[in-house]
Amino acid sequence: MSDNKTAIEFSNVSFTLPDGKTLLSNLNLSVEQGETLVLLGRSGSGKTTTMKLINRLIDPTAGTVQVEGKRTIDWDPIRLRRRIGYVIQEIGLFPHLTVEENIGVVPRLENWPAERIRERARALLTLVGLDADRFAARFPRELSGGQRQRIGVARALAADPPVILLDEPFGALDPITRREIQREFKTLQQELKKTMIFVTHDIAEAFVLGTRIALLKDGQLILLDEPQALLRSQHPEARAFAECFNDAQDSGSRA
């Protein structure tokens, strides 16, 4: 963390569906500029809901979310989203566009000149470790899962947004590729110093990538701290995740 300016702030935020089901209740949370905050929790704990509140895919039913000091409901949603990179599971690539066109989506929406979009796409391909000459003209279905995910990250970086949201981006990858890409991503993170919100249910991934971890359960924030603190917590949900992590470490050391 270079400085301690707040990039995103949740104040008393709740989100309730029209049918009365509460997905998120009274969330208070702030994300510092340049840090990677991991949202950790089981399926249905409210991680993705939290993320969609940041880029206004949904609006809070109570409380306020602020991005760069301005309430999201005061942002023009289109302008807001173009300042926020968005990576979702591999399915999020547009199947009818080539790799280069996929990466160029936001710059094209921002009316960059074609030559600049092309250069940017090629530079980003190199940045995520793919050979631009080989991959630029391919379609997503001609790529492996790992390659697709790298394109997804490259696409989110295209317009150089200050904030990037990643919703279980590596969830569908095999364990080996996943480990590889996490390591590459870690390097990228240190290079770019972007503010990132990273959703996962994999505690190992949270440990590798997170500056801090926010643990969610049933729409409530249970713990918000540095990774090591989670291992020491006495909360049953934190202990459950910690045990998973320890099991994985143990079997890893035996092997």
Binding site: N55, L57, P77, P95, H96, V106, A137, F139
Partner: protein
């Protein structure tokens, strides 16, 4: 005559009809796309509308095409002084075809867009696409394959339904099919049906190819996509241009109409060629108008003259009760037409085309049948075949059965032209044909005498618009010259030349006019 022979002899006409057909299909499918795709998109934005809109399109598909034509013809809807709906011809046919083509296009657009993966839509929205950008950059490209599949179905429906458009003078390959049905000529039916089927298959293959080509994810697809659309547009433009020139011939002065059976087409040709030959005016032929369409077209000013029968005018148009005295009938229709429609009955052509009650020659000999009364006596075991027209009109079946005391074992209602074949093939034993029908001599059928004078007279007379005759007195002189020119025997001969000898009505009419010294 084989189909190949027929095609080689009538190449020009075949080409014209095929182009007319393609024109109808291309224009209607094009309009249906322009309406259906935006409507389908609208439904994805306002899902509440989807039930009523798809319901309406569904219902339109179930309306029989002839019924739909019948419903559209009397309409008179203008947009900035341009008639956009109603009347006969391609315009009404296109409206009907569009209504048929809408359902598959709306439905596939709606389904195609609705089925786009929500994750992809979220990705687009999350990256800051506006609704419009999401639609044009993500949803439509991804739904395009499904939409094209809908267009494919719509096109094939249009190719098939367009054959029926010939019934309202919209042209197309349906002309051959209708003529073939009338003349009991399988070659003619096939001459219309085979090219229509080929067009349907061709359109299906071409659109299927487009559908496969735009399947994304193939590098090759993206490259040929660039050439595909210009190619499609070029082909469509070509069809439109050719069709425009075909239709463009119709700016002429006098429009001659005819109903949709052989005799009427021959009479139409006789009128048209006599007017062309004697006056030098340009003549447009609008033949093959079904039902009362010829009358409606004349009253609406879409045609200037056609040959009507006194009895038909009295009963079917004026809806008066039957009268048997020929002079009295002519006097009445003359007066009423002048008063109600500003239409003028000119000189009678000379023959009476009344209903002819027909039986097979062997039955007539065996049972000694000469008069209708004779047949009524033995009819208890008989099956009769009547056209829809005969069954429903005031001088048709109900009064006929009552006057002569007929009780048939079974009555089969079918297309008039099919009754002859049914009689010859012994599927029925008695039919009501037309006294001038060429098929009577061709099949050696026996006409029974109307000994109780049930059927009113049906003298054939050209009926013309008063304003046309005032503007072109030379046309009136030509029509006067045609007075009394045809006997029943002559008319039967002309009909047989077309129905039996498979000659062209145009040729037969020319020969007749030459022989009578009307044209050189």
């Amino acid at each position: 005559m084989t189909l190949i022979e027929f095609f080689s002899r009538n190449t020009r006409e075949l080409l014209t009809l095929t182009l007319e057909h393609l024109f109808l299909v291309a224009v209607s499918t094009g309009i249906a796309i322009l309406i259906g795709v935006p409507l389908g998109i609208l439904l994805t934005r306002k899902p509440g509308l989807s039930k009523p809109v798809l319901g309406f399109a569904n219902i339109m598909q179930t309306v029989p095409s002839l019924a739909l034509f019948g419903f559209l013809i009397p309409l008179n809807i203008y947009l900035f002084h341009v008639k956009i709906l109603g009347g006969i011809g391609a315009r009404t046919a296109i409206v009907a075809l569009v209504l048929y083509a809408l359902l598959p296009i709306i439905r596939n657009t709606f389904t195609g867009i609705s089925n786009v993966d929500p994750a992809i839509r979220d990705a687009g929205r999350g990256m800051g696409m506006t609704d419009r950008q999401l639609l044009f950059q993500v949803e439509l490209p991804l739904a395009l394959g499904v939409i094209i599949a809908g267009v494919r179905v719509a096109t094939v429906i249009c190719v098939g339904t367009a054959t029926i458009a010939a019934a309202i003078d919209a042209g197309g390959l349906g002309r051959y099919i209708f003529r073939g049905l009338r003349a009991n000529d399988n070659t003619l039916i096939l001459a219309g049906a085979v090219p229509a089927a080929l067009i349907a298959m061709g359109a299906d293959l071409a659109l299927g190819y487009i559908e496969r080509t735009i399947q994304f994810g193939k590098t090759t697809g993206a490259k040929s996509k660039k050439f595909l659309w210009p190619a499609v547009i070029a082909v469509l433009a070509g069809i439109l241009i050719v069709a425009y020139f075909i239709a463009g011939k119709g700016g002429g002065a006098i429009a001659v109409g005819s109903k949709d059976f052989t005799e009427q087409v021959i009479l139409g040709e006789i009128l048209a060629q006599a007017i062309e030959g004697k006056t030098g005016l340009q003549v447009v032929r609008r033949f093959d108008l079904g039902g009362n369409l010829a009358h409606e077209a004349l009253a609406a000013g879409e045609i200037d003259v056609y040959v009507e029968y006194t009895g038909t005018a009295l009963l079917a148009i004026l809806k008066s009760p039957p009268v048997t005295d020929p002079q009295e009938v002519l006097r009445r229709v003359k007066a009423e037409y002048a008063r109600r429609f500003k239409l003028e009955w000119t000189e009678p052509l000379g023959f009476n085309n009344t209903f002819a009650i027909l039986v097979r020659a062997d039955d007539a000999r065996r049972l000694n049948l000469k008069r209708i009364t004779d047949a009524a006596r033995v009819s208890a075991q008989w099956r009769a075949g009547f056209g829809q027209d005969f069954m429903s009109r005031a001088d048709g079946y109900p009064g006929f059965a009552q006057t002569y005391g007929f009780h048939f074992q079974e009555i089969r209602e079918m297309d008039l032209s099919l009754t002859y074949r049914a009689l010859v093939e012994k599927q029925v034993d008695l039919i009501a044909g037309n006294s001038t029908d060429g098929l009577i001599s061709r099949y050696g059928l026996v006409q029974l005498e109307d000994d109780r004078h049930y059927f009113p007279p049906y003298d054939a007379v050209p009926v013309a618009r008063e304003d046309t005759l005032e503007k072109h007195p030379e046309v009136r002189r030509v029509l006067q010259q045609l007075g009394g020119i045809l006997t029943v025997q002559e008319m039967r001969k002309l009909n047989y030349a077309v129905d039996g000898e498979k000659r062209q009505p145009r040729e037969v009419a020319r020969e007749f006019l030459k022989q009578k010294g009307i044209v050189p």
